[in-house]
């Protein structure tokens, strides 16, 4: 898997005593800075969303608490604690009025941060974000499906190459190989466990009533074929956020920033002006 040129990772100490792993990548120079908050799948230097964004912007990607070590969640009990944690991350990185792009679970985190601390977020981009609930169009239970069904939920085309690669990858995992357990399975389960702490059993923790507080102009990008968080949720976010616009990408699914990176980057470019 590819890594963007000049990618670095560092550990940033926070006032809480926790340490935040931050990955940075991008062209440097005059390029604007974009903060990327990752989904339940985690973030690494090879993260395709990070790599795609880093072609155009200087990307700062803090790893969510718990993803590296579940013990980090000891004092982070709910989304309010989580927003406080991210406020400290942004403070420690000197980020004020930042452009924040969040995908899926990271979209929920970005929206919570922008609602709790409006001055930290200058522009907000939510890509297929979780955080709301509609009885008529429920968010899929991403933690209640067999691993082999996950690919079908993630990609716009459930039989396309992305879904197939994911399905085959997960089907052929050798759980008896300690290397596979340590390098793949445990990090994946840790990330899912950490995200699940804030999403279980329904990923609606009151965000709907807080969205009105978001001061940042907001762009909502959804794949029309998102089977995890159906595209109808874009309109729900749009209605509740004071200054919001929607871009629905035909054919794409929940992994919209990986499925159609050019269109997502172009939409963000237009939005940032």
């Amino acid at each position: 898997m590819a890594t963007a040129a000049g990618t670095t990772s560092r550990d940033v100490p926070l006032p809480s005593g926790l340490v935040c792993r931050v990955i940075e990548a991008g062209p440097g120079g005059d390029a604007a800075t974009v903060v990327y908050l990752h989904g339940a799948g985690g973030v690494s230097e090879q993260d395709e969303i990070l790599v795609n964004l880093a072609r155009r912007w200087n990307v700062v990607a803090p790893m969510a608490p718990g993803f590296r070590d579940l013990a980090e969640l000891g004092e982070i009990d709910d989304v309010h604690d989580l927003a406080i944690h991210y406020e400290e991350v942004f403070g420690s990185l000197g980020l004020e009025n930042a452009v924040v792009v969040g995908h899926s679970f990271g979209g929920m985190v970005a929206a919570e941060l922008a609602a709790h601390y409006p001055s930290r977020v200058g522009r907000l981009v939510l890509l297929a974000a979780v955080g709301l609930w509609d009885d008529d169009e429920p968010v899929a239970d991403v933690f209640g499906v067999g691993v082999t069904e996950l690919g079908g939920l993630m990609w716009g085309d459930p039989d396309g190459p992305g879904a197939r690669a994911m399905r085959e990858g997960l089907e052929t995992i050798d759980v008896s190989d300690p290397k596979v357990v340590d390098e793949l399975l445990i990090p994946m389960m840790q990330g899912f466990s950490a995200a699940a702490k804030f999403m279980w059993p329904i990923p609606d923790k009151g965000l709907a009533k807080r969205l009105r507080r978001i001061a940042a102009p907001t762009l909502l990008v959804w794949g029309a074929n998102d089977r995890l968080v159906p595209a109808g949720y874009a309109a729900r976010f749009e209605r509740a956020i004071p200054d919001a616009r929607v871009r629905i990408v035909p054919g794409a699914g929940h992994m919209v920033p990986i499925e159609v990176p050019e269109e997502v980057i172009a939409a963000i470019e237009r939005f940032l002006g």
Binding site: F143, G146, V147, E149, A196, W200, P201
Partner: protein, 413 residues
């Protein structure tokens, strides 16, 4: 050794093409399509009769347990079953295996109900505190898997403190806050009934049981041959922590079918065993391993949870009777065969408390009753002396010598 009749109280009328028509037996299986309450009425009473008969036949304990939203075991409230058993049994201890502590809000509810059961039964209660399966706790009852164990441990601490405390106290927990904890009634057994922890193979549970003097019971559906890894882990923990390697600190569950001969065993038990393994254990894999339920330490140890084992199996082909018997999922055959295999089990697992499932799947009342009688008269006596050199400190000692007697029913008097 002590022997306890364990009942899951399964739904016996799942259709033959159940596996083809439904993705799983638990969580989202529609009750309106499959559960007939009139059948339910009959089998609840059959099952209670069976446990009451086990009491009469001299079993040491009779066991009930808690499961939710499934056809595998129809006791969302084991305490209701235990309550009715206190009135129609006299000798057997009532082993509630148990209450999934994190599901009770506040957990002092468990301290209250268990104390009621202990008082009603005259001090015959064994208090089981399971975490609960992922299907029950995380999917059916909505608990967050990431914090489930922490909440469970805090709840157990609260219950034990409520039983032991001489005075009302305040409890400022992370998951429960109570200004006044003051449980009525208090149990007959002082300071509290023996605590048994049914575990599915989580490594943290071993140390916790040893350090707190709880019995560790490995509840596996897959027989004693597969249980070695888990029980070995437990005995290693006992050794490492310097505790006594007392077989009565450990329990195990085994399905058993007794017949005149090994050949007749197939005739009597094969259909019910296949019903259990191919229908009652038909689990949807998506509901078996919620993220955070299995600790990193357990994952690293490579112990696949019992539930996940079952789910992996569920998507494989149907099991056959020879496979079920050869692998020890069901110990079946003549009394001699069963005795021999259980003796082998006792040698290898060193468990002093054996819970036996003598009804499983859709096994009929008649066959179950015969199975109970034959186990009590033809197998248990030959194994009872095992581990006699050890003291059982995990068993009720304060049971009243004279129990109150329910008045005869008016119509029968």
């Amino acid at each position: 050794m002590k022997f306890h009749a364990f009942h899951l109280m399964p739904y016996p009328n799942l259709p033959d093409d159940f596996r083809q028509r439904y993705r799983g037996v638990w969580v989202d299986l529609p009750a309106s399509e499959l559960y007939d309450p009139v059948v339910g009425h009959r089998v609840y009473h059959d099952y209670l009769d069976e446990l009451e008969f086990a009491d009469q036949m001299g079993f040491d304990g009779i066991c009930v347990n808690e499961h939710h939203q499934n056809a595998y075991g129809l006791m969302p409230s084991p305490n209701l079953m235990a309550a009715t058993l206190t009135r129609r049994t006299r000798r057997a201890k009532i082993v509630v295996m148990g209450n999934s502590v994190a599901l009770y809000n506040p957990p002092t509810r468990v301290a209250e109900e268990f104390a009621m059961l202990d008082v009603m039964s005259g001090g015959r209660l064994v208090a089981g505190f399971p975490v609960g399966t992922p299907m029950d706790t995380c999917y059916a009852m909505g608990q967050t898997p990431t914090t489930l164990r922490e909440k469970y441990r805090e709840g157990v601490d609260l219950i034990l403190k409520a039983w032991k405390s001489e005075q009302p106290f305040a409890f400022n927990g992370r998951f429960t806050q109570l200004r006044y904890v003051n449980v009525w009634p208090r149990p007959i057994q002082q300071p509290h009934p023996p605590v048994w922890i049914p575990g599915g193979g989580s490594v943290e549970t071993w140390d916790w049981c040893v350090q707190n003097g709880f019995l560790y019971a490995y509840l596996s559906f897959f027989g004693y041959l597969r249980a070695r890894q888990v029980l070995d882990g437990y005995w290693e923990a006992v050794d490492r922590l310097g505790a006594e390697a007392n077989p009565y600190s450990a329990g195990f569950i085994q399905f058993i079918g007794i017949a005149d001969s090994d050949a007749q065993a197939e005739e009597l038990y094969a259909e019910a065993a296949l019903y259990f393994f191919n229908r009652c254990l038909h689990l949807y894999p998506g509901f078996t391993n919620p993220p955070g339920y299995t600790s990193v330490a357990t994952m690293r140890k490579g112990i696949v949870g019992q539930v996940e084992q079952a789910a992996r199996r569920a998507f494989a082909d149907d099991l056959t009777w020879p496979e079920i018997v050869d692998r020890g999922y069901v110990v079946a055959g003549s009394p001699e065969t069963v005795t021999e295999r259980l003796s082998d089990m006792a040698d290898h697992l060193r468990v002093g408390h054996l819970m036996v499932n003598l009804q499983f799947g859709n096994l009929s009342r008649e066959t179950t009753m015969a199975n109970i009688e034959r186990f009590a008269t033809e197998v248990a006596p030959r194994l009872r002396d095992r581990f006699n050199e050890y003291e059982d400190r995990w068993w009720p000692t304060d049971t009243l010598s004279e129990l109150a007697r329910p008045a005869p029913l008016g119509g029968e008097a």
